[in-house]
């Protein structure tokens, strides 16, 4: 039937079906108002209630910078979101470039969650199709975290890509699937870090390079996971099909885009 249907008929039929969709059975506003009244506004920055006394001095330094970044009005946050346009990512500008801590080793902080056996196995655990950059070969390790679902691919040593000082490996890929209104990761960049909009196989992305920037992940409630707070170097961010990708590697912008374009 439909193959014989001309375009106008198809449009008319679709419009007819659309008109038949059920409206709400009642006025939703009283119900929404009740939910709002019983809800608590989610803090967008967890400066209240943080166990600051337990933080290492280096972390405190980072936190101070972060809090400075978040001298942030909500307008600034809105601007950051508008500038980025990437699902779940917020970038804050800070007045000075963070100083990198001395560690050069990959630490367990980077790699948490369930160890997956393969990319296919990670897809099963994560519940979405995990992609890996063909340009880097098979990952040396894959970890899957829950809430929000996050997959980390580790490429420990690759020819031509020196291990990054902050992570101790050649490349790190993080893939996160989250809701549109969910905050998944944050970045604080100082004046020494450049932020450049780029395109990755037609998908919108951003390239962060120059001085290291502050990086942290958020939990399912949008609260930053302090154990993930660290400095990061050259990073490519992009979003496709509801998944936000992050590639961290000491390569040039064009090389990063080439690697990102090889995700399969």
């Amino acid at each position: 039937m439909a193959e014989h249907m001309d375009e106008r008929e198809l449009e008319r039929t679709l419009a007819q079906i659309g008109r038949g969709l059920p409206p709400p059975s009642r006025d939703l506003w009283p119900l929404v108002r009740a939910r709002i009244a019983s809800g608590r506004k989610r803090p967008w920055w967890p400066s209240v209630g943080l166990p600051r006394f337990a933080l290492a001095p280096a972390l405190v330094t980072l936190l101070v910078l972060a809090v400075a970044a978040i001298g942030l009005t909500t307008n600034l946050v809105a601007d950051a979101e508008r500038i980025l346009g990437l699902r779940g990512v917020q970038i804050f500008k800070v007045p000075e470039t963070p100083t990198p801590p001395p560690s050069t080793q990959a630490s367990p902080v980077l790699f948490t969650g369930t160890r997956a056996l393969s990319v296919a196995d990670a897809s099963k655990i994560a519940g979405f199709v995990v992609q890996a950059p063909a340009a880097l070969g098979d990952p040396d390790a894959i970890y899957v975290d829950a809430s929000p679902t996050r997959v980390t691919l580790v490429f420990s040593s690759r020819p031509g890509i020196p291990p990054a000082a902050q992570i101790g490996v050649s490349a790190l890929v993080v893939e996160i699937r989250g809701a549109v209104d969910q905050q998944l990761m944050g970045k604080a960049i100082g004046p020494g870090t450049t932020l450049e909009p780029v395109e990755v196989s037609g998908a919108p992305g951003f390239w962060l390079a120059g001085s290291p920037h502050l990086f942290f992940l958020r939990d399912a409630n949008g609260v930053p996971q302090m154990e993930t707070l660290r400095l990061a170097e050259n990073t490519l961010l992009w979003e496709r099909g509801g998944v936000t990708y992050r590639l961290e590697a000491q390569v040039t912008r064009d090389e990063a885009i080439r690697i990102a374009s090889s995700f399969r």
Binding site: M1, A2, E11, I17, G18, S25, W29, I36, G39
Partner: protein
Amino acid sequence: MREPLGGTVVRRMRPDSVEGRPSEDTDLVERAQRGDQDAYGELVRRYQALATRTAYVITGTAADAEDAAQEGFTKAYFALDRFRTGAPFRPWLLRIVANEAKNRRKAAGRRPTVDLSVAEDRPSGDTALSPEAAALAGERKESVLAALRQLREEDRLVIAYRYFFELSEAEMADALACARGTVKSRLSRALARLRELASRQVSLDG
């Protein structure tokens, strides 16, 4: 790759970014951001039908759709301080509601199909047709409905935004969180799949 329908569909799509009463929306959003709940209530009442129907396209059940719409409005309220002043409210809301609906369907573990049977029984508002034409229209609707049920959620949503709810191209891009240029290709591909599935349905029936 051939893109059936693409050119004509895109030409007819409204390129403007807003519809309805955007300036009133902006005013209501600003008032709501300042804590005026009545203003937010007006936004809810203005878009509750659209939100519920959007959720229904994903969940396929009226109860889940209403719940997703309520939760979407609630989350949108709490996210108002992150809403960019002057941006269109409607597609932003739809993104949140659609996401709530997807979460519900996923949590329920349903197959990725949706029952649109409710739509079959509701009056269409068409003008009176001859018995033959009515039968033909009914047959068309059956095959399209059957195809819609089998479409992937993302395809069904892009078709719904365009043909059910008549969103503009810019609004669709906002609601689907993709570039404006991507909307056309996604719609073309979704329509091609719809036609393909509808034709298979005919083969099965025949």
